[in-house]
Symmetry: C2
Subunit: 124 residues, 2 copies
């Protein structure tokens, strides 16, 4: 079973955390064939934490987990904090393959999405 | 002439601001047929400011400007601060049509991008 864990920063503003949860649920609807389990977790200020998010995926049966940082820039959170949390957790599940995908802002195709979106906005 | 202005939050970490500038330059390469002018600006902590970014587009000849907030959640920055800055600037350029597109995190297709990206990550 494959799991996808979307990691967001987390916010004091609950609506922002809910926005991530809703996004994750839309991803789950679309990714059904590729990922059996799709969850979200937060680096700070919201629940579940990254270790709890990984635990959730494992308890649901994931043997392979892709961690996807929902971040736009390669700051300390992306380069150190998220890998650090994942590494701590990884040792608890030696049979589970946990990999961190490049963060959202690093996806080359994000530019295509933005161009399309800007064109749509000119036509409103 | 049409302009596209990508607005990021801005960071004390210069590499994050440069990342936005590089993204903007990649967008400019792709959007040439649709947007004659593509610039970036920052809400805080980096230059140019939003008013300066709009001014830059106008000075280059933009008669229509799409402002695209490079933000993932609909917090105060997206709902109040960016529209506030744009409104202040708009009155200086009565002949220029300035519109704010929905922020990046609100683009429905971002989920497709994330699913594709996660699938790519499983195949590395």
């Amino acid at each position: 079973m494959k799991g996808l864990l979307v990691i967001a920063h987390g916010s004091r503003r609950q609506a922002s955390n809910d926005e991530v949860r809703q996004l994750t649920s839309r991803i789950a609807d679309k990714a059904g064939e590729q990922f059996d389990i799709v969850e979200s977790a937060f680096l700070e200020l919201a629940e579940p934490s990254i270790p709890d998010g990984i635990k959730k995926c494992v308890e649901k049966g994931a043997k392979e987990i892709i961690v996807l940082p929902y971040f736009l820039s390669a700051g300390r959170h992306v380069s150190e904090d998220i890998p650090g949390e994942v590494d701590l957790t990884r040792s608890h599940y030696p049979d589970v393959d946990i990999q961190i995908a490049p963060y959202l802002g690093a996806i080359d195709k994000i530019t295509d999405l933005m161009v399309e979106h800007a064109i749509d906005a000119t036509n409103v």
